[in-house]
């Protein structure tokens, strides 16, 4: 066996039908099948989920923190983009 580490995977769990998958953490696994089993064993022990996604961490491209100013700050003064000017009926959930 060589000493190279198994690749890192990011785990996303959907906790309930109708909700979306949320990032819960990461783990090591040799391939996708093992990552799926490991995710089940590490992250769903306490009834956290009904669905699991795993993706190898190297496939996730992150925004550069150094570019945060030009990426995000321009949205700060554009409050009219929020849909908060509408009244949401009480019967609409998960908004």
């Amino acid at each position: 066996m060589n000493n190279s580490e198994w690749p890192l995977w990011e785990v996303f769990i959907r906790s309930k039908q109708g909700l979306d998958h949320k990032h819960v953490g990461s783990l090591h696994a040799a391939d996708a099948a093992m990552a799926m089993q490991n995710a089940r064993d590490v992250y769903t022990r306490r009834l956290e989920g009904v669905s699991i996604w795993v993706v190898e961490s190297k496939h996730i491209h992150a925004s550069n923190p150094d570019e945060a100013a030009e990426f995000f700050d321009p949205a700060a003064d554009k409050v009219y983009r929020h849909p908060t000017f509408y009244d949401v009926p009480d019967s609409i959930k998960h908004m």
């Binding site: 066996m1 198994w6 783990l27 490991n38 089940r40 064993d41």
Partner: protein
């Protein structure tokens, strides 16, 4: 074990003829011992797993089996009706009174050894629970139904690792082959009916081993095929555990398992 009672909904034990009731008690004890001893072996990995993720996987399986063992011990205590509790049955018997097959008391060895022991058990356990679900004994059927989902995952987990070891690197394969040479002889005992098991099968309360054996063998052949591993044709089989004739390993295991209860009888926390 002073945690809430998680056993299936309590159902009054049906009235069986005295001899059958006694045999059912012994059979349920055998199921309980088997799950308890294997759970203890797996729990020995806690903190020592090859990687964190597999450490948790082993502990999860151990806890599943411990929960199943509790359900059986609770039912056995009721069947016996002598006032003994699940703790008395699990912790206060000597090695010769345990009825688990030899396979589950074998030491962990390396990870391949543990995986193979688990796989040989899981394949049998899965088919057994499918059969027990149909038992006219409502309590046994309920425990089997709850445990089957867990056993299905255990089998998936261990089969996956058998394939990885067999069809992996030269070293992984060599480790699995070594494990096979030491463990294969214990597999046959799982489906070799003792007089008690035969009586339960004749009474229709336990599933027929011929059927289970055939299905288990077919699944083992399938997974070994994926793992590019020939199924051993070694005929030598070592039975005994289900009759109380154990290897020396069980005594050491029980010394650790029973230590707290023996040192501080009746303690709770």
């Amino acid at each position: 074990m002073a945690t809430p009672d998680l056993s299936p909904a309590h159902t009054a034990a049906p009235a069986y003829p005295a001899s059958l009731q006694s045999q059912l008690f012994q059979y349920v004890m055998q199921l309980a011992d088997t799950s308890l001893i294997l759970a203890h072996r797996l729990s020995e990995w806690c903190g020592h797993g090859p990687i964190l993720e597999q450490d948790l996987a082993l502990s999860n399986i151990a806890l599943d089996l411990l929960g199943e063992a509790r359900s059986y011990y609770q039912y056995a205590a009721e069947l016996e009706g002598q006032g003994r509790t699940e703790d008395d049955l699990a912790y206060l018997r000597s090695a010769v009174e345990y009825r688990n097959p030899l396979l589950v008391e074998q030491p962990n060895g390396d990870f391949a050894h543990t995986v193979l022991r688990q796989f040989l058990f899981d394949v049998f356990h899965y088919e057994l629970l499918i059969g027990l679900q149909q038992s006219p004994d409502a309590r046994l059927a309920a425990i089997a139904e709850k445990s089957l989902k867990e056993a299905a995952y255990h089998r998936k987990w261990s089969a996956e690792w058998i394939i990885r070891f067999g069809d992996g690197t030269a070293e992984s394969r060599q480790r699995l082959e070594k494990a096979l040479r030491s463990l294969w002889r214990y597999a046959a005992e799982l489906t070799a009916a003792t007089p008690v098991e035969q009586a339960l099968q004749d009474a229709g309360l336990a599933p027929d081993y011929a059927d289970i054996q055939a299905k288990a063998a077919a699944y083992v052949a399938h997974v070994f095929g994926e793992a590019t591993l020939p199924v051993p044709n070694e005929a030598f089989a070592q039975p005994g555990g289900k009759l109380g004739r154990h290897s020396e390993h069980l005594g050491y295991l029980l010394a650790e398992l029973q230590y707290v209860q023996r040192s501080y009888p009746g303690l709770t926390w």
